[in-house]
């Protein structure tokens, strides 16, 4: 039953779910985004559908987990001195056990308050009131305060810090300013500042308010961006052995490229920890080495395992497979500022030449589902089902001929070297394009080098991580001037539709808008997209409390080691 402090849209949301107009996932997602706690959302859903679900799938009864022991996990051990510039999902495996996020996204793709007790958006989604969880203390004994939150958010949005939070939030939190400097090409260097002095507003000792320039639905998700951990201001934004934190562990040792060790603290405010110690072992990221270490029992679990090794590891009796369906994907994006992709007919012809079902099967077998060339996944709450995408070589050839490429076309697809599935996917695309008269040469680059050219090559395959809402990726990747708009796509109609969708808390209405967006991307967009992948890993069967997370997140405080 809705209460006074609930968002005004909540009664309508309940009616929609009761009437079957939105599904359970959409209800849970939207209810929590609108400020309901996960437990309350699950409870309201259960009252309607009768399904009893634990509020957080990773939570088993604490009393069922034994205490003590050392867990050894494989992951790349990066230098994590500056969490604000961490640039892989492996970085927070270590620091997020010590310093924590304001919100947390569970393996069920539902966002919950963490260091926050609750959030409350305004009806227009332009004001978000964040209330801190009372009683949370730093390891040093000092209270975690609203001033800590303000210091961290302000710092993350500074140009000098270099955090990708700036790109993520700049559309609604920042204004661009001319720094007065020019680059080597004589172009002005653009900096950023908060769009209003009250953009991050201190309300009281327990409350901070974000006042946005534009409506934004995904604030709780953005607060769980992997760089957005709360650091102790007294330590100047750096993180190292012994750093102060609010988490269940403290860092006692780190040697990047080799190993890191965390040990449990005694008075954690949340669940656990059950383990005494977790050791992170760096095996150089080699798939073969990870396989060997799992088989030999040198590690209890791995960051991830590539699907091609799954069948071999499934034969090991001491290991258990963990997988999760995600919105993790690679898109073969065409840069619309460069020929021949400046012509929408060429872009559509490329999509028509591709059969995502076959390409997905070639790339991942059973560990992926086909995509539909619009970067909205079936697991996204706002996903709208369009008519099934059909490969049509004849139509592709006709469009290419119309665009002046009747005699054929030669392009280069730039991909990353690792993992090997990038090449499998590129080869599938290459073979299908050949049927439409396109010669596609594949240029395989070391991963680090690819990120030097990802926004400039005419045709490149870029990995996009899972994000819980489709509008997050769409805004970053395809909005005109978007922070990570690698294709240079600029379509006012798309921008308008997306802005409208982002301001719609009603999932049913939003889904209608998303259908328009998806159709527009299929017709005019800059991408070929063939799959949504599952992420998988293997853990020792004695490890309790682990579930594969769609963004690889690790909750070490919930893990235990059984006999």
């Amino acid at each position: 039953m809705p209460t006074d402090d609930q968002h005004s849209y909540m009664p309508q949301l309940l009616t929609q779910y009761r009437g079957g107009r939105i599904n359970r996932r959409e209800f849970l997602r939207t209810a929590t985004l609108l400020g309901a706690s996960a437990a309350a959302a699950y409870g309201m859903a259960g009252a309607i559908d009768g399904i009893v679900t634990p509020a957080f799938a990773q939570e088993t009864a604490p009393e069922a987990k034994p205490k003590g022991g050392t867990l050894r996990l494989e992951t790349t051990v990066y230098d994590v001195k500056s969490p604000a510039i961490a640039n892989t999902t492996a970085h927070p495996w270590i620091y997020s056990q010590v310093v924590e996020y304001l919100t947390v996204i569970g393996s069920d793709n539902v966002t919950r308050p963490h260091l926050l007790e609750s959030w409350q958006p305004s009806d227009d989604l332009k004001t978000w009131t964040l209330r801190l969880r009372p009683g949370v203390k730093w390891h040093s004994g000092r209270d975690f305060t609203v001033d800590d939150v303000i210091w961290n958010l302000t710092r993350l949005l500074s140009d000098d810090v270099g955090s990708s939070m700036l790109g993520l939030m700049k559309g609604y939190m920042l204004n661009e300013v001319d720094t007065g400097q020019t680059d080597e090409n004589g172009q002005p260097v653009i900096g950023h500042e908060l769009w209003s002095p009250d953009a991050i507003e201190r309300v009281d000792d327990q409350t901070v308010r974000l006042n946005l320039k534009e409506p934004q639905l995904a604030i709780p998700e953005h607060l769980n961006h992997y760089q957005a951990v709360m650091l102790d201001p007294d330590q100047g934004g750096t993180f190292d052995v012994g750093s102060n934190g609010t988490g269940a562990f403290t860092l006692v040792e780190i040697e990047p490229g080799r190993r890191a060790v965390i040990e449990a603290v005694s008075d954690y405010w949340g669940e656990g920890p059950y383990l005494d110690r977790v050791e992170f072992i760096d095996l150089g990221g080699g798939d073969q080495a990870i396989l060997n270490a799992l088989i030999s029992g040198q590690v209890h679990g791995a960051f991830q395992v590539q699907p091609e090794f799954s069948s071999m590891l499934e034969q090991q009796k001491h290991l258990t497979l963990h997988d999760v369906t995600t919105a993790d994907t690679a898109i073969s994006r065409m840069n619309v500022k460069q020929k021949p992709f400046d012509d929408p007919r060429v872009r559509k012809a490329f999509r028509l030449a591709i059969d995502p079902v076959k390409a997905s099967a070639v790339t991942f077998g059973p560990f992926a589902t086909p995509a539909e060339h619009h970067h909205v996944a079936p697991i996204h709450p706002e996903y709208a089902k369009l008519p099934e995408w059909k490969q049509d070589i004849g139509a592709a050839r006709a469009l290419l001929a119309e665009a002046g490429h009747g005699d054929g076309l030669e392009v280069e697809l730039v991909i990353q070297k690792d993992p090997a599935h990038h090449l499998r996917n590129a080869t599938a695309i290459q073979e299908m394009l050949k049927e439409a008269g396109v010669t596609c040469n594949i240029n395989v680059m070391p991963n680090a080098q690819y990120w030097d050219v990802w926004t400039t090559v005419p045709f490149g395959s870029t990995v996009w991580a899972h994000r819980p809402l489709a509008v997050i990726n769409l805004g970053l990747a395809y909005r005109s001037g978007g922070a990570w708009n690698e294709s240079g796509y600029a379509n006012p109609e798309f921008d308008r539709l997306l802005t409208e969708a982002e301001a719609m808390p009603d999932p049913e209405v939003r889904r209608g808008k998303m259908a328009e967006i998806e159709a527009l991307l299929q017709e005019d967009g800059p991408i070929v997209q063939t799959y949504w992948r599952k992420l998988l890993t293997f853990y020792d069967s004695r490890v309790m409390g682990f579930e594969m997370h769609p963004t690889y997140a690790l909750f070490a405080n919930k893990l235990a080691l059984g006999a």
Binding site: G191, G257, N292, V299, D452
Partner: protein, 337 residues
């Protein structure tokens, strides 16, 4: 002798100086910049520019080179260790000391510390591998050479030729399959991290075995060939005709003269294992110099690449120098010349 040593040391310093500058120049043309790699692909241009300024990456090539050289010899302080970079870099030795290679931007640590850890591991691997390779190769090579054309010679020759033609990664995968995956006698990786099941010693067995197999097959063939050549020399025939026992002929006359060529090969093997065992270290996740070099190259960690290259060059020049000295000791004609 002193003249030879001084001459070689002079060449050594000159080679290192030229190589270090060439490396700076080459990396100037490599794609991307370190600031964008540190911040990752999603940083905005304004953020990359800000960090580049703080790291001094936009200074002219020669300015950066001289700064690095001055830092290495302790004349110029390393300014990246201050709070201004915002990267949390610090060096307990201070900002200015001889041998200061700077910071590894990939690992966020002083390069001296990174090298100390990794180089120690690779030296361990090298000592074990060479310590086993030399006696095995000498025994097998001399046995095969002394019994040229016999069944024993054929068995040794066929085996060593076969092993020489097998790439290291094939040998590594075969050994892992048999001893780790199938029999479960040994660990499949070697992070040198003592777990509750596999000791650090047990983690050394397979990588050392791969190196010993690869090296000893090759060195055995060289020793055999050299022994066969030496046996055909007139002084050996004379020794035999004098009635010396075969063992005495082998030990006193053949072995010493047959060792000149194998010494070079063994020293090259040391050089290779110390600086070039990327494949073995990658397969076994062994935390040594080879793996570090690969990671640094992929990241574009210029200061670390620079340090590793200088070390590789130093090892190459030193082993060459030791080879020259060994020639002098083994062959009096060189001394006289």
């Amino acid at each position: 002798m002193a003249r030879i040593v001084l001459n070689r040391l002079g060449q050594f310093a000159f080679i290192l100086l030229i190589a270090s500058f060439l490396l700076f120049a080459v990396t100037e043309f490599s794609p991307g910049n370190v600031a964008s790699k540190i911040l990752g692909p999603y940083a905005l241009e304004s953020q990359v520019r800000s960090l580049s300024d703080r790291l001094g990456l936009d200074d002219p090539l020669f300015t950066r080179y001289l700064r690095w050289l001055g830092m290495l010899v302790g004349l110029v302080p390393n300014e990246l260790g201050g709070p201004a970079t915002g990267l949390g870099l610090s060096d307990p030795r201070g900002a200015q000391y001889f041998g200061n290679f700077g910071f590894s931007l990939m690992q966020g640590r002083p390069i001296v510390d990174v090298l100390a850890d990794r180089f120690g591991h690779t030296v361990t691997l090298t000592v074990w591998a060479i310590g086993l390779t030399v006696p095995i190769s000498l025994v097998l090579g001399v046995l095969a050479g002394m019994t040229e054309g016999s069944a024993l010679d054929r068995i040794i020759s066929v085996t060593t030729v076969s092993l020489t033609s097998l790439p290291e990664f094939v040998v590594a995968v075969l050994l892992i399959f048999v001893f780790a995956a199938s029999l479960g006698w040994l660990p499949g990786t070697s992070p040198l991290d003592p777990g509750d099941r596999w000791s650090v010693g047990s983690q050394l067995v397979l990588p050392v075995a791969v190196l010993v197999i690869a090296s000893s097959a090759y060195v055995t063939r060289i020793v055999r060939s050299s022994v066969v050549d030496t046996l055909a020399q007139p002084f050996v025939r004379t020794a035999r005709l004098k009635g010396l026992a075969p063992m005495r002929v082998a030990m006193l006359h053949v072995l010493r003269n047959a060792m000149i060529a194998p010494v070079t090969v063994i020293l090259l093997q040391i050089n290779w294992i110390l600086t070039g065992v990327v494949v073995v270290e990658a397969i076994f996740a062994y935390p040594g110099i080879g793996r570090l070099m690969l990671e640094a190259a992929l990241f574009g960690d210029i200061y670390l690449i620079q340090a590793l290259t200088l070390i590789a060059l130093s090892v190459a020049v030193t082993t060459q120098f030791l080879g020259d000295l060994a020639y002098v000791l083994l062959d009096p004609r060189i001394r006289v010349a």
